[in-house]
């Protein structure tokens, strides 16, 4: 069963408070390769590797079904800085 954008969004939002989320299916709709941007203050105080492991854990059942997965995990402040 391919992973859907809704699966990922629902699971993330029920685990942490997500301020902003971008989920891109890079497999042209096949649900096999995703790139995500997660903006949440749940990441505050965590280093990059810890953030990635945190998200990997939340989505682990889905990631194990994908061919590829990449993420960017930012706090609200960090994300706002990228908009300027």
């Amino acid at each position: 069963m391919p992973v859907s954008v809704e699966d990922l969004e629902k699971t993330l939002r029920s685990a942490i408070k997500v301020e902003y989320l971008e989920i891109v299916d890079e497999s042209s709709g096949c649900g096999e390769s995703y790139r995500i941007l997660v903006v949440s203050d749940a990441f505050e105080g965590k280093g990059t590797l810890a953030r990635h492991r945190f998200v990997n854990e939340i989505l682990k059942d889905y990631i194990s079904q994908m061919h590829a997965f990449s993420q960017k995990s930012l706090t609200v402040k960090q994300y706002q800085a990228t908009l300027n």
Binding site: T48, L49, H52, R53, N56, K60, I63, S64, A68, F69, S70, Q71, K72
Partner: protein, 161 residues
């Protein structure tokens, strides 16, 4: 060039886990299933030995000369860009070894390939390595562990005319 100098497993050579598999032939289906699903002590020890064997160890799809995936290729390109010293790096092609491909994900508790280790410590996958490269932290890390030569303090930090 640089890529062909990187030591890596190539078809025909034994991968990190090949010798382990030969020591423990599984006769029953159950034990074979268990062997596939759990990270055995022997496999863990073999991987631990591999990550400690070189200042930089990369588990990737394909080889530095012929990466088989965009993320693995990106990591190789970043390494080449920094001029990593080939003798300091060891790469393993997980596509050659299904046991390694699964085992390394359990060992690192990380779901994807490529995986980069420096000084025996897990650094991250492609996204993280790219991020460290962009922030300058990768250069620092590689210099610290002598994977790339240190630039002498009196050399100009930027190209000058």
């Amino acid at each position: 060039m640089f890529r062909s100098l990187l030591r890596s497993t190539t078809s025909g050579s034994r991968s990190v886990l090949a010798s382990h598999a030969a020591l423990h032939p599984s006769s029953t289906l159950t034990s074979q299933l268990i062997a596939v699903r759990l990270l055995s002590t022997e496999t863990r020890a073999a991987i631990q030995k591999a990550v400690d064997s070189s200042p930089m160890v990369v588990f990737m799809k394909g080889t530095p000369d012929q990466p088989q995936c965009g993320f693995s290729r990106a990591v190789v390109q970043i390494m080449e860009l920094h001029g990593v010293i080939p003798e300091k790096v060891k790469t393993y092609n997980v596509l050659e070894d299904p046991e390694l491909r699964n085992g390394i994900k359990e060992f690192s508790e990380w779901p994807t390939i490529p995986q980069v280790y420096v000084n025996g410590e897990f650094v991250g996958g492609c996204d993280i390595v790219l991020g460290l490269h962009q922030s300058g932290e990768l250069e620092e890390l590689l210099e610290k562990h002598e994977i790339i030569p240190k630039i002498p303090a009196d050399a100009a930090p930027n190209p000058s005319s």
